[in-house]
């Protein structure tokens, strides 16, 4: 067994942070992605334009730079708002800028842009006749979305979704640079303290591979589930 020199529990805690961060940002990214896809397909010129600017800007700038902007700029921004509230309205509050929340927000915000592209392609792949059939049955548009468009869209979106999730998972490693104690940060600290980089960094790499393999299996099962009715193709 590898001697983790007492860093074991902290590494496990760090792995927990990584997984929580990844899952919460994925949920945020999916919500943002659905909104972006809807905005991009809407008839409203302003919504379309905003969504395009959002996806272009996010995809043109490195994740780390966006993260630093939000982490380092976030506290100043929050302080400015609370100062403004104090001077103008005498409301005295102190908001502590939470690093974990900032991490979830940035990663979710970044991948929302990627998800938007995935979902837009998937929505457009749903046969129009299906939607018309739903309307002919007298379904409301929200019911059409829930029962027809969403389930059929997911079948097309899953491969892209799984890709985005894998990239997102690896992106969470970047939060270690900004000050969140995820498993990468613990491993890097331990490497510096003990001068044994391989003892700590290699197991962390293996954990990433494990999470990736497990998610691959989950996505394969989901794909099977959403492919029901399209079997044999």
């Amino acid at each position: 067994m590898i001697d983790l020199q007492g860093y074991g529990p902290r590494l496990i805690e760090g792995a927990g942070v990584t997984i929580q961060l990844a899952v919460l940002s994925l949920i945020l990214a999916i919500i943002l992605g659905l909104l972006t896809a809807t905005a991009k397909m809407s008839r409203n010129w302003f919504l379309r334009r905003t969504a395009t600017v959002y996806t272009t800007l996010i995809r043109g700038v490195p994740d780390l730079v966006l993260m630093m902007l939000l982490f380092f700029g976030g506290q100043i921004g929050v302080n400015a708002i609370s100062d403004m509230l104090y001077y103008n309205y005498e409301i005295d509050i102190y908001i502590n800028f939470n690093a974990f929340a900032a991490g979830v927000l940035t990663i979710g915000f970044i991948f929302g842009a990627y998800m938007g592209e995935t979902f837009r392609g998937a929505f457009m792949a749903v046969d129009n006749g299906q939607i018309e059939a739903g309307k002919a049955y007298g379904m409301s548009s929200s019911l059409v979305f829930r029962r027809i468009r969403f389930p059929q869209m997911m079948r097309h979106a899953l491969p892209g979704l799984s890709n985005n999730w894998m990239v997102l998972l690896k992106t969470t490693a970047l939060v270690s640079v900004i000050g969140l104690t995820d498993m990468v940060r613990v491993a890097a600290e331990a490497s510096r303290a003990t001068h044994e980089p391989f003892t700590f960094l290699l197991p962390v790499a293996v954990v990433y591979l494990l999470i990736a393999s497990v998610s691959e299996w989950i996505f394969a099962r989901l794909q099977k589930r959403y492919d029901i009715g399209f079997g044999g193709q």
Partner: protein, 243 residues
């Protein structure tokens, strides 16, 4: 003659953060980022071609090791790979006595090695996909002409595979540019490193990072347009014909 430096000082007058000094840091950062990205892409490309051919081999014992390499390098964060190489290099027994030490001691080379291996793994998979997608008829035609497998690879499969891989490879180049930002973590003064320095010195996160974000955005667009141009040139035969 126009006095450029006077014009420049005029432009920056009253600006406390973006002095000629700080812009110098950004310029240095731009040079480092460009070098890192360009060199690792070239080296990665050179590695990826033989690896992709091996990866598409019918023999398991040739394709499996390459698959393992790409699986590990695509499945773990680049930051971990960089840490392993950056911290790990110091602990190779006796490396401090060899002629390589002065080179490896600087952060630039471990970063270059990590980036090269990472992009090589992704590029290998891109090329493999393109090689696999070669039309069966082309291969049969080459065989019918009596081409040896080597000649067929050189004249038929690779040229058409490279063209097919172009759009995906363009994405990989942009991805590499963005990934290079983590070089700043191992003390390298790349573009992001310069932004961090300016932020730390003036405590001005918005100015420091928004400026560097704009530079990255311009670089991304430049790469995008370059690859669009290449695609237009090299994939002209695949474009829908004008009616």
């Amino acid at each position: 003659m126009l006095d450029i430096s006077a014009w420049f000082n005029d432009l920056l007058a009253g600006n406390t953060i973006f002095t000629a000094d700080t812009l110098g840091y950004y310029w240095e950062g731009l040079v480092t980022t460009t070098q890192l990205v360009f060199l690792s892409l070239i080296a990665g490309l050179i590695l990826a071609v033989p690896l992709a051919i091996m990866r598409s081999s019918k023999h398991k014992w040739i394709s499996l090791p390459v698959y393992l390499f790409t699986y590990v390098f695509r499945g773990t964060p680049l930051l971990i790979q960089l840490y392993i190489i950056y911290y790990g290099v110091v602990f190779i027994d006796g490396i401090q006595e060899t002629f390589l030490w002065p080179v490896l001691r600087e952060a630039f080379y471990p970063a270059l090695i990590a980036f090269t291996l990472n992009t090589a793994a992704y590029t290998t998979e891109i090329f493999r996909g393109a090689i696999k997608a070669t039309a069966q008829g082309e291969i049969e035609a080459a065989r019918a002409y009596g081409m040896s497998p080597r000649l067929m690879m050189r004249r038929i499969i690779l040229p058409s595979a490279f063209r097919r891989a172009l759009p995906a490879y363009g994405n990989e180049v942009i991805f590499m540019l963005h990934a290079s930002a983590i070089a700043s973590v191992v003390t390298l003064m790349d573009l992001t490193g310069a932004a961090r320095f300016v932020y730390a010195r003036y405590y001005a996160p918005f100015e420091a990072f928004l400026f560097v974000a704009a530079i990255y955005l311009c670089l991304t667009f430049a790469i995008l347009f370059f690859f669009r141009y290449l695609e237009k040139k090299l994939l002209a035969h695949l474009r829908p014909q004008d009616a």
